[in-house]
């Protein structure tokens, strides 16, 4: 008896399961880039950009990838997304033209995030306004929760949604309201007025 034979059995089984998983699971590729908000991790599925995080670790980011997906780091992937984000952070572009995969969100959450995507840079909307625009005028709180679960902040600009009194009430990205304020200032939104209210 020797230890190698034990290792071989379990290793072969592990490889077999991994192979099966690779053939079965949808592939998600991810990459990272440096941004003024810190290291920014982004991932794409076959349907589009599915996750963007900043201010956290790689492990934090990977834990958020679609639950059934096989993830693979590919530094060459997501070039267009990285290019547009670079332009955005450089103040040269304020509207993203990227396919976004919101497949893990509920239909209501998808409606809210698509509505948020339509807010022009430099403008603000309240949670109540978004609730009315998606046909659920009394669902301000649910709108806030949907925005809080935005898997691709910055690209889907949930930071452009503020409290009805203009206050920056919350932000799911790293460093919370500080990041939200930074993004709104970058876009030239009336954030100082809003913050004073």
């Amino acid at each position: 008896m020797n230890g190698n034979a034990v290792a071989t059995g379990v290793e072969q089984s592990r490889e077999r399961v991994r192979d099966w998983f690779s053939r079965t699971a949808p592939l998600v590729e991810w990459s990272e880039m440096v941004s003024p908000l810190g290291v920014l991790y982004l991932a794409q599925s076959g349907a589009g950009l599915c996750r963007l995080t900043f201010g956290g670790t790689e492990d934090d980011f990977r834990a958020l990838l679609p639950s059934r997906a096989k993830s693979r780091r590919n530094p060459d992937s997501l070039r267009e997304a990285r290019k547009q984000l670079d332009a955005y952070f450089g103040g040269r572009q304020v509207r993203f033209r990227l396919p976004v995969d919101l497949g893990e969100m509920t239909r209501f959450q998808q409606r809210v995030l698509r509505r948020a995507s339509a807010i022009p840079a430099g403008e603000l909307r309240s949670y109540g306004e978004i609730a009315r625009e998606v046909g659920s005028p009394r669902a301000s709180r649910a709108v806030g929760q949907a925005l809080g679960r935005n898997p691709v902040p910055v690209v889907v600009p949930c930071h452009r949604v503020v409290g009805s009194d203009g206050k920056l009430t919350g932000y799911s990205g790293a460093r919370g309201i500080e990041s939200k304020r930074w993004l709104l200032r970058l876009e030239g939104a009336p954030v100082e007025a809003a913050a004073r209210v």
Binding site: M1, N2, G3, A5, V6, G9, V10, Q12, S13, R14, R16, V17, R18, W20, F21, T24, A25, R62, A63, L65, P66, S67, R68, A69, K70, S71
Partner: protein, 162 residues
């Protein structure tokens, strides 16, 4: 929500060793049952609620796979000492320092009825708590305790007789 890929990385090996012990040390049966376990887990993954105990859930699926296979008689055969190798390093419960004693215990565990075998292995080999064990065996906590207790009593009796 836990990721399936992460579950494979975290739990594949322990499930394999558990299934191998359940099938009397056969690597090929263990590999087949391990594959079957992951396939079933994949199919049922949407029903795994966020925050629930994924490890116990996986052991439940693995136990079902093993008990089904044993029930069908496909994999029920006497302990074969040379069929494969013991997994000393994978059995943290073993307080036995003498590997011959360990061998003897593993042999007797393999001779237990399947459900008691699963209960003893999961409780002492894989250190599942009784609540997790109940979930894995799909029974009440009292029944899980009873299975462990019966298994241990039988083990002790057999070992004392040797």
């Amino acid at each position: 929500m836990v990721r399936f890929e992460t579950l494979i990385e975290l739990h594949h090996d322990e499930l394999y060793f558990y299934l191998r012990r359940m099938t009397h040390g056969s690597t090929s049966d263990a590999a087949d049952l391990t594959q079957e376990t992951w396939l079933r887990a994949w199919q049922a993954f949407d029903r795994l609620r966020p925050g629930s105990n994924a490890r116990a859930w996986l052991y439940r699926i693995a136990t079902n796979c093993a008990l089904n296979a044993l029930r069908k008689g496909r994999r029920e055969y006497p302990w074969q000492e040379d069929a494969d190798l013991p997994d000393e390093a994978r059995l943290p419960h073993e307080q036995l320092e003498d590997s011959e004693d360990l061998e003897l215990v593993l042999e007797e565990i393999s001779a237990l009825p399947p459900r008691q075998r699963a209960a003893v292995l999961l409780r002492y080999g894989h250190e599942l708590r009784y609540a997790e064990l109940a979930s894995a065996l799909k029974c009440s906590e009292a029944s899980a305790r009873a299975n462990v207790s019966l298994g241990v009593r039988r083990l002790r009796r057999e070992l004392e007789a040797k």
